[in-house]
């Protein structure tokens, strides 16, 4: 077993020896970061604002259309004896309503905020899942099919761009503060940030820490979603051929490296599609519900 493992690792070790390292000619023409570059497709400039339609805008609109159409379509075709799709959507609905929303806030609040939290979950889920579907959106490299220049297939997700998670986070951030202020008044809301049991001189520093933690939520909520999706896409990109092209090895080395990284690419792809996409949507919705519930809760 050990010998077989060593034999499998030998080509990798050979790649790391100084002799091969000095012979390594990194392919300068391949720029992996261009995979995430946003070329304007339809240039729109209003004053200093750049409102060009590009890949990211296309993915946001696509995710929104998919979310609305699928849900409306399934809602219209509800049957007493549900088929498989309806069962899955009903399970998702129960998850959103009972686990995510009702589990983290009072019933009155849950009634009010369930549509928002549910829509957030579905939109992020569709956006993440669309990101693993190869679509012809790479306008940098084109493929000629019967003379027509068609953009090559590429992976991209709206949530792999910081702007989209940040916009969603800002909506969440402002809504939970507004809910808190409406429930307790501005002063009462600020006071509720200090945990119960803290009195006197200790309240000042703790209040400062709480203020900082509210601003850190802005960063953590948006960067968590963005970084997870971006890192997943980068892993798939590098493992599924990017590394082989970048390292520019000899034929034998490329084949060995390609087989190893290609297998890993499939594993990462399954991991991303099966777990990360759904989990991140779930986390975002759950944290939104926790923040909303925490803002109006009586004690901290």
């Amino acid at each position: 077993m050990k010998a077989r493992l060593l034999a499998a690792l030998a080509p990798l070790v050979l790649l790391l020896t100084p002799a091969s390292a000095s012979a390594l000619q990194v392919n300068e023409n391949f720029k992996p970061q261009n995979e995430f570059k946003l070329d304007p497709w339809i240039s729109i400039h209003i004053g200093g604002l750049d409102l060009s339609i590009n890949k990211a805008v296309f993915y946001v609109i696509l995710a929104a259309i998919f979310t609305c159409l699928t849900m409306v379509w399934i809602a219209r075709r509800m049957q007493a004896r549900p088929n498989r799709v309806q069962t899955a959507v009903e399970a998702a609905f129960t998850l959103m309503r009972d686990n995510i929303t009702r589990g983290n806030m009072s019933d009155a609040m849950a009634k009010k905020w369930f549509p928002f939290v549910g829509a957030l979950f579905l939109f992020i889920w569709f956006s993440n899942m669309l990101g693993y579907l190869p679509l012809p959106t790479n306008t940098e490299h084109k493929v000629s099919i019967f003379g027509a220049q068609i953009p090559s297939l590429s992976l991209y997700a709206a949530t792999a761009n910081l702007s989209v998670p940040l916009a969603l986070t800002l909506i969440v951030w402002f809504s939970y503060h507004v809910e808190g202020v409406r429930a307790k008044g501005p002063v009462g809301y600020m006071k509720s940030w200090i945990p119960a049991g803290v009195e006197g001189a200790a309240a000042g520093p703790i209040f400062v820490i709480e203020v900082i933690s509210h601003f850190v939520r802005l960063v953590s909520l948006s960067v968590r979603l963005f970084a997870n999706i971006l890192a997943g896409h980068l892993l798939i990109l590098f493992m599924g051929g990017g590394l082989v092209v970048l390292l520019n090895l000899a034929v034998a080395g490329s084949v060995v490296l390609g087989l190893v990284t290609g297998t890993m690419a499939i594993a990462f792809f399954l991991f991303e599609v099966g777990l990360v996409a759904t989990l991140q949507a779930f986390i975002f919705a759950t944290l939104t519900a926790i923040y909303l519930g925490g803002a109006v809760a009586e004690s901290h």
Binding site: Q33, N99, S220, V223, R224, F226, A227, N228, L230, A231, L234, L279, Q280, F282, I283, T286
Partner: protein, 94 residues
């Protein structure tokens, strides 16, 4: 001593500096992202270990524990990517 020697020396230094800067970026990405995985790695292991412990103690709480488990897993796992993203920023954007 000819002044052109200084120019040659300066050119060599500049070239070395460019290589050094590139190496520094690569080291920043590798070491930063690599060390950044250590803490969350321990954390994820700890979460799953505790989940196994809890479920074996109270199997009837399994469903509740599972939902908390994924929350904890995702929150911990995200920390890897914070390190990774800052490494990428150092590598590509600086």
């Amino acid at each position: 001593m000819d002044l052109s020697v200084i120019n040659t020396l300066a050119a060599t230094v500049a070239e070395n500096e460019a290589i050094g800067r590139k190496a520094g970026k690569a080291i920043a990405l590798g070491v930063g992202a690599g060390l950044g995985t250590v803490g969350p790695g321990i954390g994820v292991g700890y979460i799953f270990g505790k989940v196994i412990e809890s479920v074996t103690r109270q199997p009837e709480m399994r469903d509740e524990i599972t939902s908390i488990q994924w929350l904890g897993f995702a929150l911990t796992e995200a920390i890897v990517f914070y390190a990774f993203i800052f490494g990428l920023i150092a590598f590509f954007l600086s």
